[in-house]
């Protein structure tokens, strides 16, 4: 009964989406307020029905209803509750359900919180949102129905793919989808603006919070996936330039560019046409990401299934939405009015620089990811484009971007003084130079470029601190006054500083771990030991341990400093899942500050020795810590009163005394 309710609710959601997609647009054409105002309640109701469908699927999973094919194939009554819940989206059908749930959730949020939006813009945006939703509802109902029943219900399910039985599954896909799908709002608003043929700076103020939320979720979603791959796959890589990872990186790069160009549009009314294009491109890249992952064109851990019909269906969605949006853009964009002028050296100029490099970097990732597909389609040659390609293209494009980053926030709008800014960044540059020298002195191994990477990372971090120091005038006015200024700074200024600082932290982690990480692959016998960095690991032996639905073979290692001081134990294991006759490697991690020791086991040999991989990963945790700092920065920016959804416009009288306290923004 419950699966049928879910199925039915999904069909109702589709019909509501069609109504929401057609009526408001008719309303905007005929100037009929009643038709336009259908959009908001329809969006809320649509979300309610999708939520019912999602919950129905959840109930099937929790109660282990194996008469539902999807549950039978991906769940098992022995699995802990948390994995029975997360396996809802640990498969193709379920993850598409999660996708539409989030899509309609965002639609409902716009409907509920968008009370201060112009009626026409809101009606158009919600209608576009409904078209996207309708396409995906149809996709689920026609090719990926999760509610299909099996006539003779089996007694036990086939279990979730063991690699997915991990807390990471509870976090990574929902966050990633919040990011991907969050950009649909910017897309819908962009299309709505094009339909209306009118756009102004206020558009950017309405859209920015949504872009910010999506960007924050995508940032931690990618970082979470990276950490998950790092500890789960057993060889300690944090980024593989796997097509599926690239599929999530591309919207992130475009979204970051969008976030910055929307600032220019909001403050200065410039770059309107470009911002609209970026909004379209960002969500298009999210759709392409979905296509790449879901269609099975690329084979990877994430391709749950390969069914050509699905690929063709998503490809059709892709063509209609991206093609349609770009065609509409080509037709209507010339109608949009031009914005303000600015000199090349100015805050706007810096943000344009940022946009140029981010979108170009995004384009190189795009080419590297899709070139093998294109080549195979054209010539039949099968090639792979691996990390060397991306390191040789993405890296050089990111260096100038990073180096320029501290300058941006310090430049004035309209016409900036680059020499003045450079003077203010002298302390940061000195610190960076010192870091370069120190890394050269401390680490003689590794590539010669690595210390300069550290230098750039430190420059970025120090630049973010300089920005705040300059705004609060901390070294020039008494401390109390500076503190008052700090409290008076707009939260978005703090947000910028934190997010930029986070980038520096991540970069520092990446440079350290790639340049100075060390690796030992060896076979050890009980009683034997391995040395790495300043640590010595002694292998004490193997024992087995039973888990809820798996069996562990655990290696016991004692970790000491090279001088003999005992630090702790590490217990990597090989985990076997009888339901699927599969085994996974469970690496053991030991954090030492921001660095980690990483140990994973191979299959024990008959003679008692075990193959192990042991890594020392200096500063590796900084990679993900940086992402968290970026997330925090985004959150601060989001809480800025200017962007607070539904916040009343600040009264002029109250705003004035504050404005005199702040340096020019």
């Amino acid at each position: 009964m419950i699966p049928e309710i879910g199925h039915f609710a999904l069909m109702l959601a589709l019909s509501l989406a069609l109504i929401q997609g057609i009526m408001p647009i008719v309303g905007t054409r005929t100037n009929d307020i009643a038709l336009m105002s259908i959009a908001a309640p329809a969006a809320v109701a649509q979300f309610a029905f999708v939520a019912i469908a999602f919950i129905a699927l959840g109930v099937c999973y929790v109660t282990s209803d194996f008469s539902v094919l999807n549950v039978y194939e991906n769940s098992n009554s022995q699995m802990p509750l948390i994995y029975r819940l997360t396996s809802i989206w640990g498969n193709h059908e379920g993850s598409m359900m999660l996708w539409v749930s989030i899509l309609t959730f965002f639609g409902a949020l716009v409907a509920v919180f968008g009370t201060n939006l112009p009626v026409v813009l809101k009606a158009n945006a919600l209608a576009v949102q409904a078209w996207i939703a309708a396409a995906f509802h149809l996709f689920i109902l026609m090719t990926s129905n999760p509610f299909v029943r099996i006539p003779d219900a089996p007694f036990e399910g086939r279990d979730l793919n063991p690699i997915l039985q991990d807390p990471g599954l509870a976090f990574h896909p929902p966050m990633l989808y919040l990011g991907y799908v969050g950009f649909s709002i910017a897309f819908s608003f962009a299309i709505a603006a094009l339909l209306e043929g009118r756009i102004d700076a206020a558009w950017a103020r309405w859209v920015r919070p949504w872009v910010l939320v999506a960007w924050m979720c995508l940032t931690v979603g990618i970082a979470g996936g990276s950490y998950w791959a790092y500890y789960e796959l057993g060889w300690g890589g944090f980024w593989f330039w796997d097509p599926v990872e690239n599929a999530s990186l591309m919207p992130w790069l475009a979204g970051t560019a969008l976030l910055h160009s929307a600032v220019v549009m909001e403050k200065r009314g410039a770059l309107k046409v470009w911002t609209i294009l970026l909004a379209i491109l960002t969500f298009s890249l999210s759709l392409i990401g979905t296509f790449l992952v879901r269609s099975g064109v690329l084979t990877s851990v994430h391709a749950f299934a390969t069914d050509p019909r699905r690929g063709v269906f998503i490809l059709a969605i892709l063509v209609v939405f991206i093609g349609g949006a770009l065609a509409l853009y080509a037709w209507r964009a010339p109608l949009l009015k031009q914005g303000g002028l600015f000199a090349p050296i100015s805050r706007e100029g810096a943000l344009v620089f940022n946009n140029l490099f981010l979108t170009t970097a995004c384009a190189t990732v795009f080419v590297g990811t899709l070139y093998p597909l294109a080549l195979e389609a054209l010539t039949g040659d099968k090639i792979s484009v691996g990390p060397p390609f991306f390191n040789a293209t993405f890296g050089p494009l990111f260096i100038p971007l990073m180096a320029a980053m501290p300058f941006g926030p310090l430049l004035a709008w309209k016409r900036g003084d680059i020499l003045g800014v450079a003077q203010r960044l002298i302390a940061a540059a000195l610190l960076a130079a010192l870091a370069v020298a120190a890394s050269f002195a401390l680490e003689r191994r590794g590539p010669h470029l690595a210390p300069f990477g550290v230098g750039i990372a430190i420059f970025v971090m120090a630049g973010a601190v300089t920005d705040i120091a300059e705004r609060t005038m901390i070294l020039r006015v008494p401390f109390r006054a500076a503190l008052r200024r700090a409290l008076g700074l707009p939260r978005s200024a703090w947000g910028t500083a934190f997010a930029h600082f986070g980038i520096g932290v991540t970069l520092l982690g990446i440079v350290a771990v790639t340049a100075w990480g060390s690796e030992r692959i060896a076979e050890v016998r009980p009683g034997g030991s391995l040395d790495i960095a300043h640590y010595r690991l002694t292998f004490d032996g193997v024992f087995s341990r039973a888990g809820s639905n798996y069996q562990d073979v655990v290696g016991h290692f004692t970790v000491r400093r090279t001088n003999g001081e005992l630090i702790g134990v590490m217990e990597p294991s090989r985990r076997t899942f009888p339901a699927r006759n599969m085994s996974t490697t469970e690496a053991a991690l030991m954090s030492r500050g921001a660095s980690q020791l990483y140990l994973s086991l191979g299959d024990p040999n008959p003679d008692g020795t075990v193959p192990v991989r042991l890594y020392f990963k200096p500063n590796v945790l900084m990679i993900w810590l940086g992402a968290l700092i970026m997330f925090f920065g985004g959150g601060l920016s989001l809480s800025d009163r200017r962007l607070r959804v539904g916040a009343p416009r600040p009264a002029k009288a109250r705003d004035k005394p504050r404005a005199t306290l702040q340096p020019a923004e």
Binding site: L69, N70, E73, N74, N91, H92, E93, T143, S144, V148, I150, N161, I163, L233, G234, T299, V301, F304, A305, T306, D307, Q338, L341, F342, A343, P344, F353, L356, F357, T360, A363, T364, V367, G368, K382, I383, S384, V385, G386, P388, F389, A392, T393, P396, L397, I521, A522, E523, R574, R580, M582, S583, T584, T585, S600, G602, D603, N605, P611, V612
Partner: protein, 158 residues
């Protein structure tokens, strides 16, 4: 600065960055592209020693030999021809005889494929797509592979 100058500067800057990116990409494409070959392709394409390729096929039953120092040797076959592979390191979890494998590396002078990477795949029903295509091409695609490959974890409409 007039609007026209501003637009020219923007377009010029954009084209400049794009040109740099294209140069970087062409350069990287020259050095870092790796072609996929089945054992039959290797003979056909005359892959010489030192050329980096991906070699894919099935691990031949009974060919796996474990040596000292984590050295493993095995043979990769596509049903028509087979090639010896040498690898030093810990094999991925799902490496088994009779299953699909993709190895990346170069041929040494004696015709042994020296793999530095064995691609880790994470599903027992999974057959690398390139391998499946290669087996179909050589006419050694068996139904039980097809069944395994066609039985997706995600399932489908029945």
């Amino acid at each position: 600065m007039t609007r026209k100058q501003q637009r020219l500067a923007l377009i010029g800057g954009g084209l400049g960055v794009l040109a740099v990116a294209v140069a970087l990409m062409l350069n990287a494409f020259r050095d870092s592209i790796v072609f996929f070959n089945s054992p039959s392709d290797v003979a056909e394409n005359h892959v010489g020693p030192g050329t980096r390729i991906r070699l894919g096929g099935m691990v031949k039953d009974g060919s796996l030999v474990r040596g000292n120092n984590l050295v493993v040797r095995f043979e990769v076959t596509d049903g028509k021809s087979e090639l010896p592979v040498r690898y030093q390191g810990v094999l991925p979890d799902l490496f088994r005889e009779g299953q699909g494998v993709v190895a990346e590396g170069t041929f040494d002078g004696s015709g042994t494929f020296d793999a530095d990477t064995i691609l880790a795949k994470h599903d027992e029903t999974y057959m690398p797509r390139e391998v499946a295509d290669a087996l179909k091409k050589s006419g050694h695609w068996k139904d039980d592979y097809a069944q395994r490959a066609a039985m997706p974890i995600g399932g489908g409409n029945k």
